[in-house]
């Protein structure tokens, strides 16, 4: 809750402090002093900044996010339109890429020192160092100019127009968006599997004659997954912020695009609403991570039971 309040306040202050005003954009060439005053009056922008802040908070507390300065569309409605698009993109990208990352990391660790291990390591470093907007543009170039007709490089097909087309449109954005998540997850899991295989409990299980397969399933993977959960949570957060760039490159009408547009036009209520949505998403992911860790790591669980954890 405190975090959300901090985010709102920060966004509010930064938006007001940035040069320009939605009034200029709104009025454009028909700008006049009288027009400006009238619009400012209507939008409540002539009040002092602290006054505006208090008014905004009061409005939020009542569950009202305000309305777009330009279209007059309620922010809540805009978010309801855009958020599912982003969520779907992020979850698809995250699920597919992280699953691949886990698989690649585990195999690389089990074939430690093999060519496959080398491939995974090199791929992760490259995937992490390539900026997503550049990779996005390369994809647009490749699939828009050289190999046309295979995958759409822009635009978004709603699910109502057919699932296959809808998914085809998601392929490239999800590819670009999820690649860093793949890299980080593969690297982390490779490292933690290698570390776990070196542990006393693995040697003990081996010395007790447990078969390799059983050992991996019961002992190794389970313990290697503990640090992975944290990283996967961080990556989900990253997918949200990554969406801002990727959605703009591929013309996906999600939260990221809405956010960029609203900031560009200084559409205060919409911009603030977007940030609020992202902050809440982050917090929910964090909560999810904490719960997952609780489920998987008994030591953390006990800490909670004994009241030893400080919030």
């Amino acid at each position: 809750m405190t975090t959300v309040l901090a985010v709102i306040s920060l966004v509010f202050v930064l938006l007001r402090l940035s040069p320009g005003s939605p009034l200029y954009t709104l009025l454009g060439f028909s700008y006049s002093e009288e027009g400006r005053a009238a619009v400012a009056e209507r939008l409540g922008l002539n009040a002092s900044i602290p006054e505006q802040y208090v008014r905004y908070l009061r409005q939020l507390a009542g569950g009202d996010l305000g309305a777009s300065v330009f279209s007059g569309q309620p922010v809540g409605e805009l978010l309801a339109q855009r958020l599912p698009v982003s969520l779907e993109l992020g979850l698809v990208a995250g699920a597919v890429w992280m699953a691949l990352g886990i698989l690649a990391g585990a195999l690389a660790a089990l074939r430690h020192g093999s060519p496959f291990d080398g491939l995974v390591r090199v791929t992760s470093v490259v995937a992490l160092s390539v900026p997503s907007f550049w990779l996005g543009l390369v994809c647009v170039l490749v699939f828009g100019v050289y190999i046309t007709g295979v995958l759409p490089v822009s635009g978004y097909v709603p699910i109502s127009e057919g699932l296959p087309e809808h998914l085809r449109g998601l392929v490239l954005p999800a590819f670009v968006l999820g690649l860093p998540a793949f890299a980080v997850v593969a690297r982390t899991f490779r490292g933690s599997v290698l570390e776990v295989l070196d542990r006393d409990y693995v040697s003990f299980a081996t010395s007790m004659g447990m078969s390799r397969r059983t050992l991996l399933a019961r002992v190794a993977m389970r313990n290697a997954a503990i640090p992975l959960v944290t990283v996967m949570g961080l990556m989900l957060g990253m997918l949200v912020s990554g969406a801002i760039l990727v959605e703009n490159v591929f013309g996906v009408p999600g939260l990221g695009q809405l956010m960029v547009d609203s900031f560009r036009r200084q559409d205060y209520p919409v911009a603030a609403g977007c940030c609020l949505a992202v902050a809440v998403l982050y917090l929910l992911t964090n909560l999810l991570v904490d719960l997952a860790q609780l489920a998987i790591d008994p030591r953390i669980r006990e800490g909670v039971l004994n009241g030893g954890r400080v919030r």
Partner: protein
Amino acid sequence: MNDRQATGSPVTDPPPADLLTVSDLHVDYAGRPAVRGVSLSLRRGEILGLVGESGSGKSTLCSAITGVLPAGARVRAAGLRFDGRELTELPPEDMRRIRASRIGVVPQRPMTSLSPSTPVLRQMRWYHDGHDLADLLAQVGLRAVLDRPRDHPHRFSGGQLQRLLIVLAALARQPDLLIADEPTTTLDATVQAQVLRLLLDLRDRLGPAILYVTHDLAVVAQICDRVGVMYAGRLVESGPVSQIFTAPRHPYTRALLAALPARTERGRRLGAMPGHTVAEVTLSRERGARAGSAGCAFAPRCPVVLARCHEEEPTPITMGTDVVRCHRAGETPEAEEDA
């Protein structure tokens, strides 16, 4: 089992057949030798103590016998026979089966030897799902574990965990060979005594051969029949405990015994061994010229060193019941004391 050996390998000559025979075992970690040419044997019902400082290759020797070595380790041996079977030639699946039923290992660090994310009782059932689990647990005074099905390893003490591991590795499966790799090092003194009693009792009831690795000579004197002293990957002296403790022949063994508090007179300083440990010596040797593998490894620290010791590695000499690797082993201890 013994008749199988009699029919299976007619060439075995000593009548009371050894359960385990290791001959000329070498283990390298990425080219760095950890065990060099160790030979030893172990009969049923016998407890062989293995002593030596950290890095002398004791644990590696144990791991080589069970075949559970880290990646990058290379094992060479003239022979590694267990109950008539050559372990180095066994397919991995057969070796796994031997580990699962006939060789038990009590690990060095009980606190970290069970998976931290699975309840202890469930892990015990992975290895032993018999109805007698309650009885076995009662034998080590831990029947209460059955009432704690959801407790993970961190809720148990080191001593409790070690007793549970002994149940798994020894009591439940009744192995022919039990390898205990410093099983009491991380435990406090009273728990140590408990664990030792448990092992002795086990030997008396079930009669397995026990390989007991330790730094602790007092423990060796207390429970072992024979003792092997390792230095820098070599078994420098081995023989019956009574023999080694009363008339040690290798200067390293003598120095070890001299450092025992009980043997030092009141008011006299404890004997400290001159020089550096093997790990330090190998390190400095690797940094300097890589030539120094000739000669006795103990020569740099030996109080009775000869010029010959630096050039020529001593071969094992059998003297009565004792096997020694020292150029001066033939001389009487008194003569060396004077030298």
